[in-house]
């Protein structure tokens, strides 16, 4: 139990007082290895007792190759337990009490005193390598093969039957050798190696170990593969290994389409077309049943715009004059009578409904102030629209005549370049006017007018922000002493206001309402009262439709969320 040596006749261990089994008296008793010692954890976890028995006796079989473990093998005494456990690495005992392997081998002679007779006899039988009697009993072929094993100077451990005699071995034995069976070794060498051999693990524990041998075999195989065996790099390790397996795409068997006759195919096509037609018809029906909200909205707006114009209503009166409009009026009022004004008609027919009232209101005021108006335009339709506006103003005032209070210079080509030319050069009195084709110097309106610097003010009736910007850049910078006044549609007002705040523009008239306001300032009733009503009612209708649309959109979105 404790491993301490006891006398052969002891029934109780002198050290640990454990009961000792009698030796050789129970040959027929079943083998119970390690009987008498308490079961260890490994013992408890051991799956089966017979396997454990085999494992436990394997160390003994290595120690005593001649002794055959089996049912007839007697139970090990305690001292042998101690040796066995020392050799297998079990350290139940204190370190100082367990002899080292070298000590064990050195003290083997001393320990012979404690070795029972049966064991000494067995050991004597197993020492066949040194025994001449044993050699004599061996067959001839085995004696020959056994002879080199006695050579202790041989550096390599030899196979028990000798490597040279391998071809002479019988086939069944050769097969075992090739199969890697553990070959017995001479007892001396075996004894030395056993002292360094690690503990033998039980089979159930070995099963848990990773297969190191197999892995190392794989590494060896990979190394062999990595070493080139042919070509210029033959024998040189380390070239890029050749992929042993070429990845091939999966071969998919072609799907066999069922052979469809032409009639079946035509039938399928017909069915598909019929289903599409049915879907399209359903969609058309759905569209047809949709209530025409959009058309109703358009009709409401159209009625709101047309009714005031047709009935010539005067529902909404302009009561407020914005500051820029007042400044415009004031600038015209302060101009000396008889002075000339350059009036620019830079709008086209699309915005005539909003721009013409402004132009007419301004022209009327200029005419009443007895100011000469020189008209010019940088857009192709401008000269005609200017002439039309003047004609309407002149119709109301019989005293005004073309050529005296008003003259139309026509179209100025080139936009920026044309304006720059107007600033740099002269009016060109030797060229004809737009309306009559007569030379300019023949008109009284052009008296004392050589260039743009001779006019008292520049009034720009423009429909786009770019028009105002170009005039201010090309003309305003060069003739800063000439005040610039502008009349624009309502949509352009935000773009022009900064020029007014920067005093680059002296006054602004904005849109249809601005024209009516200007007329009010000049003491006239707004000529565009019905248009203002139409604009107001139309704006209210548009706001109403937008509100309805917003509510409908909110309702639609809520329904979609639900």
């Amino acid at each position: 139990m404790c491993g301490a040596p006891n006398a052969a006749d002891n029934t109780v261990c002198d050290r640990c007082e454990a009961a000792l089994m009698p030796i050789g008296g129970e040959d027929d008793a079943p083998l119970e290895p390690d009987s008498g010692r308490p079961p260890t954890t490994a013992d408890q976890d051991a799956p089966a007792a017979p396997e454990e028995t085999t494992e436990s006796t394997s160390s003994l079989s290595r120690l005593f190759p001649g002794a055959k473990p089996g049912r007839g093998m007697p139970a090990l005494p305690d001292e042998m337990h101690g040796q066995s456990r020392t050799m297998t690495g079990e350290t139940d005992q204190p370190a100082e009490s367990s002899p080292s392997p070298s000590e064990g081998s050195a003290e083997s002679g001393a320990s012979d005193d404690f070795t029972p007779g049966w064991l000494q006899e067995a050991m004597g039988k197993t020492d066949f390598s040194d025994s001449a009697e044993t050699s004599a009993e061996l067959p001839d072929w085995l004696q020959e093969t056994n002879a080199p094993t006695s050579d202790a100077s041989s550096p390599e451990p030899r196979a028990p039957f000798g490597g040279d005699s391998a071809p002479e071995l019988p086939s069944w034995l050769r097969g075992d050798e090739e199969g890697g069976t553990e070959s017995p070794q001479p007892p001396d060498q075996e004894q030395e190696e056993l002292t360094l051999e690690p503990a033998a693990l039980p089979s159930w524990l070995k099963s848990l170990q990773p297969e190191v041998v197999a892995f190392s075999d794989e590494i060896d195989l990979a190394r062999k593969e990595a070493e080139a065996s042919s070509g210029l790099l033959a024998g040189i390790p380390g070239p890029l290994p050749v992929e042993p397996i070429v990845a091939m795409p999966h071969i998919v068997a072609p799907i066999r389409q069922a052979e469809i006759s032409e009639d079946v195919r035509a039938g399928q096509l017909l069915r598909k077309l019929q289903s599409r037609r049915a879907a399209a018809e359903a969609e058309v029906k759905q569209e047809a049943f949709r209530f025409p909200w959009q058309v109703i909205g358009y009709l409401v707006l159209l009625v709101a715009l047309l009714v005031p114009l047709l009935l010539n209503t005067k529902l909404f009166n302009v009561e407020r004059s914005p500051e820029p409009s007042k400044a415009f009026f004031k600038a015209v009022e302060t101009m000396p009578q008889g002075s000339a004004v350059l009036m620019v008609f830079d709008y086209e027919a699309d915005l005539m409904g909003e721009m013409e009232p402004e132009a007419k209101a301004i022209l009327r005021h200029l005419s009443e102030r007895n100011l000469r108006v020189v008209s010019i335009s940088t857009v192709p339709q401008g000269p005609y629209l200017a002439q039309q506006a003047w004609n309407q103003v002149a119709k109301d005032d019989a005293q005004t005549q073309y050529g005296q209070q008003f003259i139309n210079l026509g179209f100025l080509v080139g936009r920026e370049i044309g304006l720059r030319s107007l600033v740099q050069g002269k009016f060109g009195l030797d060229r004809p006017d737009f309306t009559n084709g007569r030379l300019l110097h023949t008109y009284a309106a052009m008296k004392d007018l050589r260039n743009i610097h001779d006019v008292g003010a520049i009034i720009i009736v423009g429909s786009t922000p770019e028009t105002i910007r170009i005039w201010l850049e090309q003309v305003g910078t060069k003739s800063q002493q000439v005040p610039i006044l502008v009349a624009v549609p309502a949509s352009v007002e935000p773009a022009v206001l900064p020029y007014y705040h920067a005093k680059q523009v002296k006054g602004i008239v904005v849109g249809l309402v601005g024209a009516a306001d200007y007329e009010l300032q000049t003491g006239h009733a707004p000529s565009s009262g019905a248009a203002i009503d139409s604009l107001s009612v139309g704006a209210l209708a548009a706001l109403f439709l937008m509100a309805v649309g917003a509510l409908a959109a909110i309702g639609s979105n809520r329904r979609k969320r639900k």
Partner: protein, 189 residues
Amino acid sequence: MLSFFTSAPTIQGLTTLFIHTAMIIAAFAFLLGVLNILLVHLGKIARREGGWGYSLALVLVMLAVLVLGRPGTRGPMEGSVAWVLQNIQIPLEAAFLSLLIFFIITASQRALRSRPREAGFMLFVAAIVLLGQIPVGEKILPQWPAFKDWLLAVPTMAGIRGLLLGVALGTIATGLRLLALTDRERYFK
């Protein structure tokens, strides 16, 4: 550009020369445009391309107006040309612009459907400005036009100036790249 910085007679004379040259080129550009339109549509008519009927109408009307305003007459103020302008072109252009209000209504409905919050905010501001432009707003609330003016002068102007500054900086950058020939591969192939 030098003429903006100096009043030297030589520079001013050169400037006048260049300006007159450019004006002549611009006037001929008009004529070139007329010829280009004529050739393009005559080609369409000859090849019987899709919509060649419209091309035929355009060519016929253009030639008719040119004949009516031929040299020796009063040009645009000739009675027949003025009639075409007064009774065809002006009503057509005004009618096209009049459709704008219907498009605006439709666009607002679609915007409200796709992005209700943003479109709703935009339409709310538009309603304030719209009511401020017409006498109705003043009748609803006397301060309405003043609020509209503030809306245009401060927030709207801030946005417009930001856009204009961006455009100006972009124009300067493009001009510098052009002068430095950075984009020469794009412009001078």
